[in-house]
Every structure is written in structure tokens, then in C-alpha cells.
């Protein structure tokens, strides 16, 4: 079978003109006309300000946008010296944009960026989300400098977040990634990250690209492959994480991209995660992340109700996923009133582990397993919100840390479940 080509001819033609480069910034887009212009300008400013001498290129793989996204990216490349008088460019800074084949998918876009980085033999490559409205030129430096100086291979971000923002990350993705792979990477599913040339080639050689995880949830798969490959990791503080429009956020899709990809990764990496027990911190550059506390009115009731109805309605599905003790425990707490309800650390950790094991055994469709976790997660989120209602930033952090330790402690039970018969 002939190796499929990742880059289209059009992309390749543009890359020939860029030639060898030192730094690459990738902006994967799909209908991002509202924000992409500003983002690309900021990236340009960051590159000109902090990497004036390096050969840099901005690459925009587009998923077939129907708005003006690619034009806006190219348009940002026309003004060089004139518009921003305080920033002068020593070199030509290319911004190239081309559509990748196969329809919009984060994985395909990332793969295009990786292929371009590999082809241009860049030393450092960063990926920036076109929706990062809080992006500042400094982010570019903070992401790329540690890699470009050759000190680190993979740099993930740390953000300033509200204590109730990023619930999925705090209650599931971070603790579980940490428990499985033993590295305390706070944002394993990041919209901004940077990696070195050798790591980029390593990513490209991974097997993920032929699987679903090579299309969505690729970010977390890359993080995991950086961890399992033994690369040098760092975290860098960027700033305020842009708050995504809540109404457009789809929990099930997010679960698929994060939990689905995480569960999927357990299969090929079994020998690695099953033998490690604790976790190591990852070097953190810049100031530590802060938690903002301004009051936020949240409708917790809905989470609670959806958990209750989920446990009730999904009983036949949950039966095939969870062992009876866990299921009956869930049914017990689902019967509690809103005031008494508590989905504790240990029960939650056990639930996730049992889901992971069932995912491994594919007792029912794997996608259904991931979907069935969503209502349970809502219950956990409810408990998190209640517990931390009055908590300070430090207390929130401490609670998350405690949960992580619980996960690490319960990990041997997953290994047992994994190998045992159902």
C-alpha cells in the first residue's frame, strides 16, 4: 500500500518557498473568521518581538472554512514593516494557508502542522488556537523559548482560570492522565502547546494517525506520547484562558476528545502505566497558575438532575459497564436529596477506572461507554461545585491534589480489573 501523502500539492508548493525554518507556529482553523485575524497578528508581533533573527513561519491548515478565515490569515501577512512601526522585521515572515484534505478535524490539522515542521526541519514548533482571544505576544515567547533554547521538548500551558472553569480538566482529565502516566501535566489537552523538532518527528511516526484519535482528541494523544516517549516536559504560565462560549460547548464531544482518547491510549501503553505507581512534578516556568475567585452564579441543580435521571434511565447500560457494588452505590446516592448528595473522590475514581476497564474489554460499543460516563460526570461536577463553593484558590488546589492522590492510590484496582474476567 502506497504511503498516503499528508500534505497537498498546494501546501507543498508554499512550503518550498518557505524553505528551512527555525520556528513554526501552527494555527489550525475551521470557520474562525471572527478571531483568527487578531490571533495571527498577535503571533506575528510575538515572533517579531522575541525571535527577530530566527527564520519563522506561520502555518494555517484550514478545514475548508466557508467564511473568510484563510484570506484573513494571508491578509495578515501583507503588512510587514508599515503597520506596526515599533516592530521591525529583519526577515520575511511567511504566513501560509492551505486546506487539508478530508474535512475539518483537529487531528488532520495537527498532522499537517507536524508534517510541515518535519519538512522545514524547524527546531521549535508551537500550536496556537485561533480562538485564543486573550493571546498576547508574550505567549509565543513563553511557549517557544524553552524549546528553542533546547532545554525542553514539550511545553504545555498553565492558565489563570476561575475556580469553576475547566471542570472536566480538574475532575477527570488531569487527575487521570497523572495517575496513569505519572507526570503532573496540568493541561494535557491544551489548545496551546509547543514541541521540539525531534518530538515533532516522533509524533509523526506514531500509530495514532490511522485511528479515530488521530482525528479528534489528538492533543491528549500527543501529550501522552510525549510522556511515554520520555521527552523533557515543561509547563509555562501563559495568562488568562479564554472563556469558551458555554452554549457551543458539547459535553459528549468533549468527553470523546478527552476521556475517549485517554481510554484509547491505555491499550497500547499497558506495560508502561501498569508498572508505575506515583507521579512526578513537571518543571514549571514563569509564575505559578492562579485561581480567580470572583463570584459566579452556577445552576448546579441541572447537573444534579441530569445525574439522577442518567443513573435511572441508563441502568441497563450501566449494568454492563459497572460491577454491581458500584452501580448500587450510585443508585444509593442518586436517591439522596440535593442537600445531602455527594459523589465522593473514591467512588468517582473507582467509577472512572471501571469505565476504563469496560472500555478495554469493549463490553458494549466503546463510544457508548464514553457517552454513558457523561451523566455520571455531571454528578461529580455538582459535588465539586458544592464542596468548593466557599473555598479559596489554595483550598480548591488542595482538593484537586487530594483527588489526584486518591486516583493514584486506587490505580492497582484498575490493573486487576484490566486483566480479570468480567
Amino acid at each position: 500500500m502506497a504511503e498516503e501523502s499528508i500534505l497537498t500539492d498546494e501546501f507543498l508548493r508554499q512550503l518550498i518557498n518557505v524553505g528551512e525554518a527555525d520556528i513554526l507556529v501552527g494555527v489550525p482553523t475551521y470557520n474562525n473568521a471572527a478571531t483568527v485575524g487578531q490571533v495571527v497578528q498577535t503571533i506575528r508581533a510575538g515572533l517579531l518581538k522575541y525571535f527577530p533573527r530566527e527564520r519563522a513561519v506561520i502555518i494555517n491548515p484550514d478545514g475548508g472554512s466557508r467564511d473568510q478565515t484563510p484570506d484573513l490569515v494571508r491578509g495578515a501577512s501583507i503588512n510587514d514593516l508599515e503597520a506596526t512601526s515599533d516592530l521591525q522585521a529583519l526577515r520575511t515572515l511567511h504566513s501560509i494557508s492551505a486546506e487539508y484534505p478530508g474535512g475539518a478535524s483537529t487531528g488532520a490539522a495537527l498532522r499537517t502542522i507536524l508534517a510541515a515542521a518535519d519538512l522545514l526541519r524547524v527546531s521549535a514548533c508551537a500550536v496556537v488556537s485561533p480562538e485564543s482571544t486573550t493571546l498576547e505576544p508574550e505567549w509565543i515567547e513563553r511557549l517557544l523559548r524553552p524549546v528553542y533554547q533546547g532545554n525542553f521538548d514539550f511545553v504545555t500551558p498553565l492558565y489563570r482560570r476561575h475556580k469553576f472553569d475547566g471542570l472536566l480538566m480538574r475532575n477527570l482529565v488531569y487527575p487521570m492522565t497523572r495517575a496513569f502516566y505519572g507526570k503532573r501535566v496540568r493541561e494535557p489537552y491544551a489548545s496551546e502547546f509547543a514541541f521540539s523538532g525531534p518530538l515533532g518527528s516522533h509524533f509523526l511516526a506514531q500509530e495514532i494517525w490511522v485511528h479515530e484519535v488521530g482525528r479528534s482528541g489528538t492533543e491528549i494523544a500527543l501529550t501522552i506520547s510525549a510522556i511515554t516517549g520520555g521527552f523533557r516536559l515543561a509547563q509555562t504560565f501563559l495568562g488568562v484562558k479564554p472563556h469558551l462560549d458555554a452554549r457551543s460547548a458539547d459535553l459528549v464531544a468533549a468527553m470523546r476528545q478527552t476521556v475517549g482518547a485517554l481510554f484509547w491510549s491505555l491499550e497500547p501503553n499497558f506495560s508502561l502505566w501498569s508498572s508505575s505507581h506515583d507521579s512526578q512534578p513537571v518543571p514549571t516556568l514563569g509564575t505559578a497558575p492562579e485561581v480567580t475567585l470572583e463570584p459566579l452564579r452556577v445552576n448546579r441543580k441541572r447537573l444534579y438532575e441530569m445525574f439522577r435521571s442518567g443513573v435511572a434511565e441508563l441502568e441497563p447500560v450501566l449494568k454492563s459497564i459497572l460491577p454491581p457494588p458500584t452501580l448500587s452505590e450510585l443508585q444509593r446516592i442518586a436517591a439522596l436529596g440535593e442537600a445531602d448528595f455527594c459523589y465522593g473522590d473514591e467512588l468517582w475514581a473507582r467509577t472512572v477506572y471501571e469505565f476504563a476497564a469496560s472500555y478495554h474489554k469493549a463490553v458494549i460499543s466503546r463510544d457508548h461507554i464514553v457517552q454513558a460516563l457523561a451523566p455520571l460526570y455531571r454528578g461529580r461536577a455538582f459535588t465539586f461545585l458544592v464542596e468548593n463553593r466557599e473555598a479559596s484558590g489554595e483550598e480548591v488546589e488542595q482538593n484537586i491534589e487530594n483527588f489526584c492522590l486518591t486516583c493514584e492510590r486506587l490505580k492497582p484496582s484498575l490493573v486487576e480489573l484490566w486483566n480479570g474476567k468480567k
Binding site: 480538566m169 460547548a249 458539547d250 441530569m306 434511565e313 458494549i364 460499543s365 457523561a374
Partner: protein
């Protein structure tokens, strides 16, 4: 007269004996064919099973997800299933060949028709199997979707999906077996109509709430926008 009767009887007896004598070898042939057929079919089963084990067919089918499907349908392992199926097909074939060797008029025709009918039966069985699996899959998918989008009565929706797909499967199976005459069609139409009516009533009753919520959201959108924003939490 007596002599005539005796001679007739003798003749008849002789005829019978002759007939029997003529038939006996065929019976013997049939029995031998069936016996040999059993041996051959058993050998086929044994060789096939060994071969499938050698190539780790179970692992393959596990990778393809077939094992899980069989588990769910309470069927033995795929290797076993395939080898047993081969055994029965082969032996049944031999039995029928043996029966036709009896040379009984009309029976041969039925045997031929059976052999013609066999592939259609097989296809119908596969249809049934796939259909039942699809019904279970889609009913679960509907259930999960309904739960995760906070739809009312997820179980009802799930059951409706299962019934619909089962009915469609049944119709396809009958069609394949050539039994889909007008009565079948009528029966199907009645069942479908009943299901649809049931669904309509169910949705009508259960959907009241949903419809109200939808309309509220639609027409009171601007008024509630600020509140909604606080209500919803970004899952990420």
C-alpha cells in the same frame, strides 16, 4: 381360482421382494453416504477448527468486534461457531445426497429445492442477526443521546428505536425467505401503524414538556440570555 390367487400373491410377494431387493442397495448406499458424510463433515469440522485456532481466529474476531457481538447474542466463540456451522452444512448436504440416492420420485425435487433455498436461508439468518444487533445498538445510542441531551422519556425513545428496527428486520427476513405475500405485508403495515400511533401518543404526552421548553427557549431567548449564560457551565 385359488391357484390364481396364490400365483398373484406369489407374484406380488416376489414383486415386493424384488422391489425390496432393488431398493435395499439404494438404502444401503444412502446409509453409507450419510455415515461417510458424517465422518467427512466431522473431519472438516476438526480440520477447520484446528486451522482457525492455529491462525488465532478468535483474536481476529475480537479485534473486529465480532466476539463481543456473539457474547451478547449468547453464542459460542467464533471458532466454534464457524466449525459447527461447517459441520452441519456438510452433513446436511450428505444426508440430502443420500436421500436423493433412494430414487424416490418427488423427493428429489424437494431436495433440489432445498439446495436452492439454502443460500437464501443463510442470508435471512445473517439479516436477522445483524438486525437484532442493530436494534440493540441503536436503541442504546438513542437512550444515551436522550439522557445526555436531557430529553424526556429516554427509555420510551430507546424502545421505539428497538421496535422499529426489529420490525424492519423482520420484514427484510420474510422478504428474503419469499414469504412476503400480501398477508405478511398487511400484518407488517398493521404492526407499523400501531407502533406509529403508540409513538405519536407517547410523544404527544411526553413531548408536551419538551415542546413547551423548546418554545420557551425560542421565544423568550433574549430575555433569558443573561441567565442562561450563568446556568450553563463549560464542560472543559
Amino acid at each position: 381360482m385359488r391357484e390364481m390367487i396364490v400365483s398373484e400373491l406369489t407374484q406380488a410377494t416376489q414383486e415386493l421382494i424384488r422391489e425390496f431387493a432393488r431398493f435395499l442397495p439404494r438404502l444401503m448406499v444412502m446409509l453409507i453416504v450419510v455415515l461417510v458424510g458424517w465422518v467427512i463433515a466431522y473431519l472438516v469440522k476438526w480440520v477447520l477448527r484446528s486451522f482457525l485456532r492455529l491462525i488465532r481466529f478468535d483474536k481476529l474476531s475480537e479485534g473486529a468486534g465480532a466476539t463481543q457481538l456473539l457474547n451478547k447474542a449468547a453464542l459460542p466463540s467464533s471458532t466454534e461457531l464457524v466449525s459447527r456451522f461447517a459441520f452441519w452444512t456438510a452433513w446436511l448436504g450428505f444426508i440430502l445426497v443420500g436421500v436423493s440416492a433412494l430414487g424416490i420420485l418427488g423427493l428429489q425435487e424437494y431436495v433440489t429445492r432445498f439446495f436452492v433455498f439454502l443460500p437464501r436461508l443463510l442470508v435471512a439468518l445473517i439479516f436477522l442477526f445483524i438486525g437484532l444487533l442493530a436494534a440493540s445498538f441503536f436503541s442504546r445510542a438513542a437512550l444515551l443521546w436522550a439522557v445526555n441531551t436531557d430529553m424526556p422519556s429516554p427509555r420510551l425513545l430507546s424502545s421505539a428505536a428497538r421496535v422499529l428496527i426489529t420490525v424492519f428486520t423482520a420484514s427484510a427476513v420474510f422478504e428474503e425467505l419469499g414469504l412476503a405475500d400480501s398477508t405478511m405485508l398487511l400484518a407488517f403495515a398493521i404492526v407499523l401503524g400501531a407502533v406509529m400511533l403508540g409513538l405519536a401518543i407517547a410523544f404527544g404526552l411526553g413531548g408536551q414538556d419538551l415542546a413547551r421548553r423548546f418554545l420557551e427557549a425560542r421565544f423568550a431567548h433574549e430575555r433569558k440570555e443573561g441567565k442562561e449564560k450563568e446556568d450553563e457551565l463549560s464542560p472543559l
